[in-house]
Amino acid sequence: MVGNTLPIDGGESRASLAPNESLTQLQTPLDNSDSDRTELAAIVEGARDAIWSWRLDGTIIRWNSEAQRVFGYTASEMAGRSLLDLVPDDQRADAERIIASLRDGASYRHYETVRLRKDGVRVPVELTISPLRDGSGNMIGASTVCRDITERKQFEAALSKRVGELTTLFDFTARLQTSTSLNDIYEASLHAITRALDADRASILLFDASGRMRFKAWHGLSDGYREAVDGHSPWNSDAINPAPIFVEDILNTEEPEELKQTIAGEGIRGLAFIPLIDSGRLIGKFMTYYRMPHKFTEEEIGVANTIARQLALAIARQLADQDLRESEARFRLMSEHAPVMIWMSDAQGECLHLNQMLRSFWKVDEDNLASFRWSDTMHPEDAPSIVRQMGEALAKRTPVRIKGRYRDSRGGYRILETDARPRFSQLGEFLGMIGVNVDTTEREEAEKARELLVAELNHRVKNTLAVVQGIAHKTFKGSGIPPGPVRAFEDRLVTLSRAHNLLTQANWESASLEQLATLTLDVNGANSERVAIAGPSILLPPKEAVSIAMALHELSTNAIKYGSLSNEAGRVTLEWSKSDGPNPRIELNWTESGGPRVATPTRRGFGSFLLERTLAQDLDGEVTVSFEPEGLTCVIRAPLLELTERQR
């Protein structure tokens, strides 16, 4: 506080201090004493602040050595000059106002303004101005204590710049969070780059699919300039974590002269290349441009890197979002017009999406999907099974295939076959199911109709066989033919009919050899103790099935009449096998044992004919009957026509 005011040098009998309460205590020691004055002058002279005093007309009457240091004028240079000589033109009105107000008794403390040095440089200063009065209290002048605040101003400016940068970065981050398009991101970034880095202009470039750097957004670049430098990049797209490049002055670089002139011609001297890196991969860069050569500070480099990180992340995120949206849109488009019913459910099984075909099946609008309950359309008889299966799939998150009837928009029930799979997010979270429904109503009706047709056909065939039996009966009756051959004929008809039965059960596609043998040889009935059969599961095509059934019938009839089934002790075994490979064959072995001794018959009956001729021909194979003394054997070898998958 010392030096806040000072007495005026030059004859005034008394100097009085300004009516400033903080100085009252100084009044007594300074009171009217020469030695005090000398002491005070020494203090003023040695003060850290520039101090000068002046008369009411503005004439400087005192000028201390700090004032000389700050402003460059010596005390003698300033003596008699107006203090307005220190005031820059643009501050003159303000200075005159201050002087006028001092006359009205005002004083100023820490008033910040600008004053001129001798060499014309403006100096930011802080002034404290107090009036000087004579003994009777009349104002005779004023004292000015002036502090050079250049450093403080610089510090404040730096601080304010830093705060500005941080505010800009903060706003930038907030804007990126809410941006929904690449253009939003570019705009926010260009704004942040030019503000935080104090750049005149800026641009953002990304590599295109062919690895060429392309302008995506810019502020203040001419079309001609962009065309001229299009594709120019200090890095290739496969560069790994490249460092940013700061060019203080393009004219002081080793770049090709043409490029330098192009850049300088655009009015650019300083510029920076900041790489945009996403997960270690270079995706592009942003540029800042300065009219003048620009020395990049540590702070600016830090800010540039921060912006680059944020920008790269935002671009990558946006591109990923875009990809996802595009693939979702593609799925929707495909699904929407697919000729099958497609749906998506949430984790509880409620509909999230139904494609056009399924919406029209149920006649439900996309807008009403939330209130639509598909479970209401299930046929009451099928509902428990559908609900149980779907519930299980949802709980276990497993694929499921469900068949059931659902009411369509016209009120009729249709059979839908549903194939559903669980959906998971990238994080593995269960999202619900996605499924396809196929309307199998017509197919199933057609299948049913075909079954009915086959059954009807079988009925007719067997009725016809019965008619044939009736005709034979009528023909043989009273013809003198003994009942034996008539019985044999009837038995053959019955065998044929049984083979047809088996074929009917399998829709006339195939018959199981084991079932055929069991039925024909009555293995589960009368012959259970005497006939044994063994062999792998083989499905025979219709023609082969009938032929083999007839053959087995003949063999067993013969065995009952003459062979091992004609006494109480004999047995028959029938074994069969199948060879593997591309052209499989079957082999059946009929072996009789324990019967009466066998002699080769002198006459071949219809049975033998049927076996050795008809069967061999029908099967395209060979049939060998051997009349071994210990029992008849028959070996049947034939190619096995593989059934196609559909027929299985």
Partner: protein, 122 residues
């Protein structure tokens, strides 16, 4: 076969030649033949009015199922054997009564009829 001797058996069969054969089979088994009825109308009349101990019913009479005839006979507690070309489809009609697959032999017919008679007398 003696258990069928003298039994009066109704034959319902729309195919004349089969009907005649069945009749012959029954005669050979010692039974007396009532009918054969070749139409539903006639079959119903005979089922209601005839004095019979058993019946052999073809399941399909001119594309109609023989159910009404079976119902009358069941009410009268007359043992019945069904004959069909379509064994799988008549379980509901037969209700445990013997079913003969066409064509069938005289022996099978005899066994089936005997079983039916035994079943109904139990």
């Amino acid at each position: 076969m003696s258990d069928l001797a003298g039994k009066r058996i109704l034959v319902v069969e729309d195919e004349a030649i089969i009907a005649e054969m069945v009749a012959d089979m029954l005669l050979e088994l010692g039974a007396c033949v009532v009918g054969p009825a070749s139409s539903m109308r006639k079959a119903l009349e005979m089922a209601e009015a005839s004095d019979i101990d058993g019946a052999v019913l073809d399941v399909n009479i001119r594309s109609e199922r023989v159910d009404p005839v079976a119902a009358i006979l069941r009410m009268r507690a007359v043992p019945v054997v069904f004959a069909t070309g379509n064994g799988d489809m008549v379980a509901d009609l037969a209700r445990g009564a013997p079913v003969l697959e066409k064509p069938y032999t005289q022996e099978k017919l005899g066994v089936a009829l005997s079983n039916a008679v035994i079943m109904s007398s139990n």
